[in-house]
Amino acid sequence: MSGSDDAVLELRAVHRTHGAGPAAVQALRGVSLVVRPGELVAVMGPSGSGKSTLLALAGGLDRPTSGEVRVEGQPLGELDRRGLAQLRRRRIGYIFQQLNLLGSLSAVENVALPLELDGASGRRARALAMAALTEVGLPALGDRFPDQLSGGQQQRVAIARALVGERRLVLADEPTGALDSQTGEAVLHLLRRRIDAGAAGVLVTHEARHAGWADRVVFLRDGVLVDTTAPLGSVEQLLSGSER
């Protein structure tokens, strides 16, 4: 595939089938997608359309039945479990609806954890974690434990953990969860800012308002990409359209 040299994420004709025989379910059927630096792609589609499967494959949490997934040019299929785990820790940030914060660790320890698991010194990991917490607007709450933080603050910690260090690929699955609309918007604002600073992102969402933050929106239906949108590019056209 040409023109994808600078791709942070690339899916090439990816198929994923769960199970075998007559009970087999084809979750993805020949999906190709390229996400470049500075680009946020939203994935929309009804339940069961393959959105979460796509995200799991993109993040190396699952392997395709056929086709190829590359992160920063590295085919994930060529990595063994250890190599894959390392790439996930270093290169990919995940933001899920379930925050998965560890209750026995403070906010800054939660954020520093992936770096420490990757062999960074405690001091360096803590410094980077504090920088990430500052980026999400929580510089003063690093020593609090998750149960001492509001839902919105916990989500910010989870985002800081996804953004900490030099992650170039951010994968988000319904990241605003049950947050109120203002807090949810703040979360997307943070994500957008990191993307604008040069990361690449994939956002799975069923909320159109959130997909509005993306540069491109792709629609999945029954495991196939059926449509893609980019912004209108003409403010005047949009505003005149709103005058009905």
């Binding site: 308002r209 059926v226 912004p231 209108l232 403010v235």
Partner: protein, 200 residues
């Protein structure tokens, strides 16, 4: 919303002449509703005729400011305290289009739904971009206007999703041409509903 009440609201801040009113109007609606100066003067003269504003002596520069009257203030208060009626809004062409698509032979309704969804999300992307770029405190009125458009667009997409789910549930998977008379209860309901909408 009428330009009339927009101008009254602006004059409630203090006296202004035509060009000032136009600029203030556009500023407070984030230029979503551009006015030409002719519309401003036509509206001012109607407001004056109805006793809701009164002209003041011309300035040396030849500009004639207007001020709001007590009757104008009462009219404005009534406008602010009266909810906007949904029946005053334009008919929803999209709802009618989809209802008709369901009962028109040869129309791929899912494609109609998807085409609209793409277009609406494209608009949402642009609106979000505008919002992202306006985060100064003085941008608040403009941001709220944008939010209103964002939420309307979102509601439209949710409704389209709902339509699609209903189609998948209630339509046969084989896209055979529908019978001449809609036997399906949903389709006949949709057609009847569309008819009622069109008559309104």
């Amino acid at each position: 919303m009428s330009i009339r009440h927009g101008l009254l609201a602006l004059l409630e801040r203090g006296q202004m002449y035509g060009y000032q009113l136009r600029a203030a109007f556009e500023e407070s609606t984030g230029s979503t509703w551009p006015l030409n100066i002719g519309q401003v003067y036509t509206t001012l003269s109607r407001l004056e005729r109805d006793g809701l504003v009164r002209p003041l002596p011309e300035s040396e520069a030849g500009q004639r400011p207007y001020e709001i009257t007590d009757a104008g203030r009462a009219d404005l208060t009534l406008w602010f305290t009266t909810p906007v009626s949904r029946t005053d809004r334009p008919r929803d062409e999209l709802a009618i289009k989809l209802a008709l698509a369901l009962t028109t032979p040869g129309v791929d309704v899912r494609s109609v739904v998807q085409a609209q969804r793409s277009a609406t999300i494209r608009a949402l992307q642009e609106l979000t971009r505008l919002k992202y770029g306006s985060d100064r405190p003085q941008d608040l009125p403009w941001r709220l206007v944008l939010d209103s458009m964002v939420f309307q667009a979102e509601a439209e997409v949710r409704w389209l999703d709902h339509c699609e789910t209903s189609l998948v549930r209630h339509q046969p998977s084989d896209p055979a041409p529908p019978p001449p008379l809609p036997a399906d209860a949903d389709a006949s309901h949709a057609a009847r509903w569309a008819g009622e909408e069109a008559r309104r």
